[in-house]
């Protein structure tokens, strides 16, 4: 019903939604039996599009469809629904969202634990900060190499939020996230090398990491590069032309900054 309703107004989703519906209705058996088993990437992309429609588009049909898919018990749909509900901001939606995320996380969905850990670490109008729960969730996801979870675990360890501060462990987790070119993690790892925070001071490494983060349009990193050219820091020569260029890039990137994980 919801599929048809949404599809009437958005024809392209009809096809993808039916694939998702088939996949969830038939479950693994269906997938194993059919040569044309639905592509997991297609399914992930369809869930992402439903999330955008339900989130920014406030589309009730998309939300209902996510709810229906989550009810079927697949962790990726449960996680997606949890994220949409959490983003609504109020405590009622947030609590339901947390329950879905927990359910998905328990079924082995690292993205769900990462989203939960971040939500508990940062808090929001609908959800109070809970450092111990954040730590457990972030650890569970970070262990699997999850980029966002590794970054936020690094943040929690760096400043000791609800746990003892551990600069060395923080740098390790920033490094895990930085390996996947996470701009914010590259920036934090650059700071660690520059200020000898949990790792030995190494300006050359710091500079290379700021550069990479800046190339990914992370405004604080572009600004760090601008200041470095302005003042001749981290082994750079003072260079007014490059300073001006980086400053212009920082101004520009602020209109579309690299997103936090």
């Amino acid at each position: 019903m919801a599929i048809l309703h949404a599809a009437k107004r958005h024809p392209r989703l009809l096809i993808s939604l039916s694939v998702v519906a088939l996949a969830t209705a038939g479950g693994l058996f269906w997938q194993a039996q059919h040569r044309n088993a639905p592509d997991p990437a297609l399914r992930a992309n369809t869930l992402t599009e439903l999330r955008v429609m339900a989130d920014s588009g406030r589309d009730d049909d998309a939300l209902a469809e996510l709810q229906r898919l989550a009810d079927k018990g697949t962790p990726d749909a449960q996680r997606t629904l949890g994220q949409v509900l959490l983003a609504r901001g109020d405590s009622e939606h947030a609590l339901t969202g947390v329950r879905w995320l927990q359910q998905a996380g328990q079924a082995g969905d690292a993205d769900a634990y990462a989203a939960l850990g971040k939500a508990w670490l940062l808090g929001s109008p609908g959800l109070a900060i809970n450092y111990p729960q954040a730590h457990t969730a972030l650890q569970a996801a970070a262990k699997t190499g999850h980029t966002g979870a590794a970054y936020y675990l690094g943040i929690q360890l760096k400043n000791g939020y609800g746990i003892p501060a551990d600069a060395k462990a923080a740098a390790h987790w920033f490094e895990v996230a930085a390996r996947n070119d996470e701009p914010a993690a590259l920036f934090m790892l650059a700071n660690a090398y520059r200020y000898g925070d949990g790792v030995a001071n190494d300006d050359a490494k710091a500079l290379a990491l700021y550069r990479k983060s800046a190339d990914l349009e992370y405004p604080p990193a572009i600004q760090a590069m601008a200041m470095a050219y302005q003042h001749g820091e981290m082994g750079l020569k003072r260079d007014p032309a490059n300073y001006k260029q980086e400053l212009a890039e920082a101004a520009h990137a602020l209109k579309h900054p690299a997103q936090q994980p």
């Binding site: 392209r12 599009e49 400043n159 914010a184 579309h256």
Partner: protein
């Protein structure tokens, strides 16, 4: 012979570059309109006819119509549409047929764009300056970039001549169609949440009349149907959330392309050109990925891609940019997974040129891919000089240009005191307090209106002397008493930051100030020799409060980390667990300078507004800044200590009167010239006073 004549005629026409091209018409199409466009009667084309068509791309122009820097109020030849216009004229001489297309990020980015959008908003019957120039240059199509959304949907609807059917705007039937570009704009992956229909037409098919060569070698006229389809980064939903949330949503660029390109082919498009405002990223595809052009190249039926957004050059054999060194990307030839692709840098520095060789066989045109050429032509010559401007461009927008200059020069207010940072390191707040007042005022208002859960928390603000003499005696903020203009704001606030609010504890504030106090060397009071006060810790990290409400001392005789004393709020000691909101900038709030506890996790409001714009708004509202209100509140002092020897620092020459005007009676001048050759004097501070 006839071919040559045609070329000459084309060249003559092109020399009057800015005469609009009338060689094509376009059939707009939307998904709800599935009927075939009424076909233009096409001239008979014989099999074996060939034609050369060059796609010309500009991207990320950002309203840089002229080679002019509005902040410096001076010419800058390194950018500007008036120079790329000269390259367009040249390309029209080089190719018998050209199709001029823009990639987007067109209407925002300079003081001229702000002037037309916010200061003196253009009326419905007026056309934006950049579109005036583009209309005259004969653009035949354009895409929509992320920056097009920066001023909100009603403005975008107006200036593009659309009537958006979105929440927050009247029903399209009761909207007027305003003046806009005279060329079609396409965008396939942004939808109205209200109608579930694309916000713009997703694609259009241009009936391009081309000069071709028949199988007999004779010059003939023919029509090539060129389909153009546009894409913008789905990340606009985060970047312009305040305008877009609940009103529009995005779909993935790949999904949108897979839906519409077969439609375009079915409607007869001979050639399909993707106008994608995004770079290349080969990480796992997602419908929300920012730079989806790599995956667009893999969608069936794409003949060429005009890309943008990254402010880079492609093709470029020497490029070290990661996105142009991916598998499947040929940075020499200019192909992405075999699809000819160009990215023409930004601000009109370059013109992208894709030369397509078309052949008509079996009743349709196809591209002879073996002969395709891709280049990004530069406005800079080999000898580092720049091509001449096309003078017709500046004539077109002379009034808008002058109005913008007047706006930039217009006083936003005045000050009855000189605001400078010569002695900010030793306590003069004149260059900093107005910034802190503006930031605190802005955040206070925002919290009261939008974050009721924090309304009971005190709002404080920090800023730093960004210009503090590192580059010598002229490297200071210095705004004279009198009128304050827009361009003075850049002196008072150097960096292009946006304003952030963080929620911190009393312990966080103490740690913050301890880090800032690294600005000073540890002074040994028993030393009889002269000691330098200022360390190598940069001035831009010397964050300070300048408010009656908060007070503290810095004891420079103590080691780093234990210098802050007597930290009080409204006369009472600040406990470690007390909660405050502090206004700062995106750099500091996100971990810039590695201040303890500042790591992005405490941000309660990441405003898209620039600290500098917040400052300008504050000065406008205050009208007349007065030292007693806006420039005399010192939150901090040095802990008093008698030293055996002199404690010295360097600052601008002949400036002792500035210190005296700020009430710094403990400062004296030791040497009028410190001998550094940097136009600095040597001053002493008596820490016992």
């Amino acid at each position: 012979m006839q071919y040559k004549l045609a070329l000459t005629a084309a060249a003559v026409a092109a020399s009057a570059l800015l005469a609009a091209c009338n060689s094509s018409s376009s059939d707009s199409s939307t998904p709800s309109n599935n009927t075939n466009p009424s076909p233009t009667p096409a001239p008979q084309v014989a099999s074996g006819t060939v034609a050369k068509l060059a796609l010309l791309e500009t991207t990320d122009l950002h309203t840089n119509v002229l080679s002019y820097d509005y902040f410096k109020l001076a010419e800058d030849k390194s950018f500007g549409f008036e120079r790329v216009a000269t390259l367009i004229a040249q390309a029209r001489k080089d190719f018998p047929n050209t199709l001029l297309l823009d990639n987007g990020d067109t209407i925002q980015g300079t003081a001229l764009s702000d002037y037309q959008a916010m200061v003196s908003p253009i009326t419905c019957d007026q056309t934006l300056a950049i579109y005036k120039a583009m209309n005259a240059a004969g653009y035949e199509g354009g895409g929509i970039g992320n920056h097009e959304f920066n001023y909100g949907l009603p403005y975008l609807s107006q200036v593009t001549g659309n009537r958006f059917n979105v929440d927050g705007q009247p029903d399209p039937a009761s909207q007027k169609t305003c003046a806009g570009p005279k060329f079609p704009q396409v965008l396939a992956n942004v939808y109205s949440a209200k109608t579930k229909q694309p916000l713009f037409q997703p694609y259009t098919i241009i009936n391009k009349t081309v000069t071709a060569t028949g199988p007999d070698g004779k010059t003939v006229s023919a029509i090539v149907k060129v389909g153009i389809i546009g894409f913008t980064p789905p990340t606009i939903l985060a970047w312009d959330k305040r305008w877009l949330d609940g009103k529009v949503y995005t779909v993935g660029v790949k999904e949108a392309a897979e839906q519409f390109i077969p439609e375009m082919r079915a409607k007869g498009a001979d050639v399909v050109v993707v106008i994608s405002h995004g770079g290349l990223d080969n990480s796992t595809y997602s419908p929300t990925m920012e730079n989806g052009s790599y995956y667009l190249s893999k969608v069936a039926g794409v003949d060429a891609m005009l890309i943008g957004h990254s402010h880079q050059l492609f093709p470029d054999a020497n490029s070290t940019v990661p996105q142009f060194n991916l598998p499947g990307v040929d940075k020499v030839k200019g192909t992405v997974n075999g699809v000819p692709t160009v990215m023409a840098n930004y601000w009109g520095k370059n013109l992208g040129v894709i030369g397509l060789n078309l052949a008509y066989n079996n009743g349709k045109w196809s591209v002879d891919t073996s002969k395709t050429t891709v280049e990004a032509r530069s406005t800079q010559n080999a000898d580092k000089s720049y091509v001449a401007v096309d003078p017709s461009v500046s004539a077109l927008i002379a009034a808008e240009h002058q109005a913008t200059i007047n706006y930039v020069k217009t006083p936003v207010g005045s000050t009855n005191f000189r605001m400078n940072s010569f002695f900010a390191d030793v306590g003069d707040p004149t260059a900093i307090e107005v910034v802190n007042l503006a930031q605190a005022d802005y955040i206070n208002t925002y919290v009261k209106n939008n974050l009721p859960q924090y309304a009971s928390l005190p709002v404080l603000s920090v800023s730093a002397p960004f210009k503090s003499g590192f580059g010598g005696g002229t490297d200071y903020t210095d705004v004279a008493a009198g009128n304050v203009a827009i361009n003075n704001a850049a002196d008072l606030y150097l960096y292009p930051n946006t304003i952030y609010a963080v929620k911190v504890s009393g312990a966080d504030i103490k740690n913050w100030l301890e880090t800032a106090a690294k600005r000073f060397n540890q002074i040994d009071p028993t030393k009889t020799t002269q000691q330098e006060l200022i360390s190598s810790f940069p001035g831009y990290n010397f964050d300070m409060f300048t408010s009656k409400d908060i007070s503290y001392e810095i004891d420079v005789t103590k080691p780093v980390g234990s210098r802050i004393g007597n930290l009080q709020y409204k006369g009472a000691p600040i406990s470690d667990s007390a909660q405050f909101i502090v206004a700062t900038n995106n750099y500091r709030a996100s971990g810039g300078g590695n201040f303890p506890g500042l790591d992005g996790s405490k941000t309660i409001f990441a405003s898209p507004d620039a600290n500098r714009d917040v400052l300008i708004a504050y000065i406008k509202n205050a009208t007349n800044l007065q030292r007693s209100v806006h420039g005399s509140d010192r939150s901090w002092r040095f802990t008093k200590v008698a030293t055996q020897g002199a404690v010295v620092f360097h600052s601008a020459q002949n400036a002792l009167s500035v210190a005296q005007a700020a009430g710094l009676s403990n400062v004296s001048q030791l040497q009028a010239d410190d001998g550094s050759g940097k136009a600095l004097a040597l001053y002493a501070i008596d820490l016992s006073k």
